[in-house]
Symmetry: C2
Subunit: 394 residues, 2 copies
């Protein structure tokens, strides 16, 4: 039997990161290529205690079918928290639970864009989002981002040249892969442009609470008095990634359609762990826990930045993140990225080539992404030393 | 701000069942409209013990990101079990974990069908599948099913008249909503027709193991020597629905594309409960547990069928299921379904009108679906008595 696939899936390849992930099953590899939260960041004992309580007190609700929008107490707790702490949510907004922030991105794309429509993206950006758009037959149009800064004039030109643009996808805070944060002035300028052109903004904020240096920059959603921002975040980086619990805050009409689309994707998100998240939020100190995660990442990012300062050829540039999980490195002209990736892997260090994050995958890149949350404290300087050696070798 | 939605989502309404579900939050309502497994069917103590063990023995793997295909030991255990017990899976097949059988249906539709393609369905059929096809811009074409039997000649005519037909969606065993089982001769005839016309079969089998009377009928997948069947099933009805763990067994090239599509939908299924399912399968007696669930449903279906025999006007016909969760009732000419649904609800009994399951939702129906797994043993005869009273009143 020969199988023919839908046009939208035909050319979609498993992500380069996933393929590199497979090499990570080799425990001797230093995993700078991953994007996993640190194992230290999971509050195992508390989650175990909460789970035992749920089995004791309301096991049937935790194991039975539930409603698509999510566990109502959790929805309320999230909406209350993001309003109180970040001024996210207006009267026209609603918050629902989704199966990780990624599902929020995919649902927004599916309900708002027809095949052939376009989503404008920072270039480079998160490959999962790019593939989510592509898997819905949506065109991805890049607007260059320089350390988290998009030139508003360039954005206007891209919008003018893309009549089928429906949405702008952004990771304004602790960008994946760049690790950079968009300044408030840029956010404000982008917001005004999108409002004028009736382009919705899909704000992806999985790392926003992981700030270990500098001052908070308000989210785009926090200034959204016009109902043009769809805000996605999750518990993946602040509680557990494996439980697949995220949330979306967006205007009610958009949420209504996303709920219909979610219903046919997975009916609802694992209800047991929705209850776990709710209890953790209300019975434990989530903010204190997030502080302790930030302490871990402050330490790990310093280990990486210090090692980069010490070992890297001066011609290699890198970002200095104030939060999140990633450092973005740029090679000087004349050094081929592919050779560096290969030489690093020969030295048992896995990195992600920047090409994986390009809107146009055929475009070359001089950059690569490093992650400091996954490797151990001992692996970080050793891996950077080996990586610098790899770069010098090519 | 005015929002415009994708054409495929624009006309998709939340399912009628979902709307009826909301009435179910009233605890005084007798819930014949639901499709929930019986709360008695959840092995709470065992799941609690397993969960505690996981937190103790491998919490990090259970809380960290995992791979899209699913927890390898669970995939192997499922593949081994369905091969051993049901002869499902050939060398060209692979089994992956999905977030409930529904996700398997949606992924198959997404990767195999372009917008404007058609899926042929038994008419009536599961509304979740119908909406899953519609949400991908796929046309739904019905072929009449009479108590689980499709006339092969009619199917051939529908295929001939539907040049863009890519797939046939079937629930051959303990059909939702009809409760009926397709005879082996019909399965064989349908399989041969689909093979000749190169139409893939999407076999949805969430209830197959819930047989409490009669003899097993082999699945279509068990005779699939040609690689034309995509088989979806889940743990929802045999362990817990709320955990959202299902699986798909299908030819490797199809699975590869489904994995790419799943990756952008939810990255992977909740890994903690994948590990729970694996441990339950290997450390406890899943087959024995399923037997005990069948005992519950044998009792509950008898309560309902006996009450239908006793209270219902003889002009009302109903199916006599040998397994699964549903009884399908047909009103005589001259009694309006809408009035019956309303009169029942006035008597605090919720049923699902057959119109909800029609491929053509504008087509009228004389049928309604009853569920016996959700209501208590006491509610079943009382609810049927009130329902019969409602029918006589209109």
């Amino acid at each position: 039997m020969e199988y023919t696939f839908s046009a939208k899936l035909q050319n979609l390849k498993p992500s380069a990161i996933r393929e590199i992930f497979k090499s990570l099953s080799d425990p001797s590899i230093i995993a700078f290529a991953a994007g996993n939260p640190s194992p230290e960041s999971f509050p195992v004992e508390e989650l175990a205690a909460i789970s035992a309580q749920i089995y004791k007190e309301n096991p049937i609700s935790a194991l039975q079918y539930s409603i698509t929008e999510g566990y109502p107490p959790l929805r309320n707790a999230i909406a209350e928290r993001i309003k109180r702490k970040f001024n996210i949510g207006r009267d026209f907004d609603t918050t629902i639970v989704v199966s990780g922030g990624t599902q929020g991105i995919e649902l927004a794309a599916k309900v708002l864009c027809n095949e052939g429509d376009a989503v404008i993206c920072e270039d480079p950006t998160f490959i999962g989002a790019l593939n989510s758009f592509r898997s819905n037959g949506i065109e991805v149009v890049g607007v260059p981002s320089d350390g988290g800064v998009i030139d508003p004039e360039k954005l206007e030109r891209v919008i003018a040249a893309t009549p089928r643009a429906k949405m702008l996808y952004l990771i304004p805070t602790f960008h994946n892969p760049m690790g950079t944060t968009m300044p408030m002035s840029t956010r404000r300028a982008i917001y005004d442009i999108c409002r004028r052109h009736k382009i919705l903004i899909l704000e992806d904020n999985p790392y926003g609470e992981l700030r270990f240096a500098g001052e908070d920059v308000p989210t785009l959603k926090s200034i959204d008095d016009d109902g043009i921002v769809i805000y996605c975040s999750s518990f993946s980086k602040i509680l557990s990634a494996g439980i697949r619990v995220g949330y979306v805050c967006a205007p009610e009409p958009v949420i209504q359609k996303m709920v219909v689309a979610k219903q046919v994707e997975d009916v609802h998100t694992n209800i047991f762990f929705q209850m776990v998240c709710y209890r953790y939020m209300t019975e434990y100190d989530l903010d204190g826990h997030i502080k302790s995660i930030c302490d871990i990442y402050r330490r790990k990012s310093s280990l990486m930045l210090n090692a980069l300062d010490e070992y890297m050829p001066k011609s290699v540039k890198f970002t200095r993140p104030q939060g999140g999980l990633f450092v973005w490195c740029t090679l000087p002209d004349g050094i081929e990225l592919d050779k560096v990736v290969k030489a690093a892997l020969e030295r048992k260090v896995a990195i992600v080539p920047g090409t994986a994050f390009n809107c146009d995958t055929s475009k070359p890149s001089k950059c690569f992404r490093l992650n400091y949350s996954t490797p151990t404290d001992e692996q970080i300087p050793e891996g950077v030393r080996l990586l610098a050696d790899a770069i010098r070798s090519v």
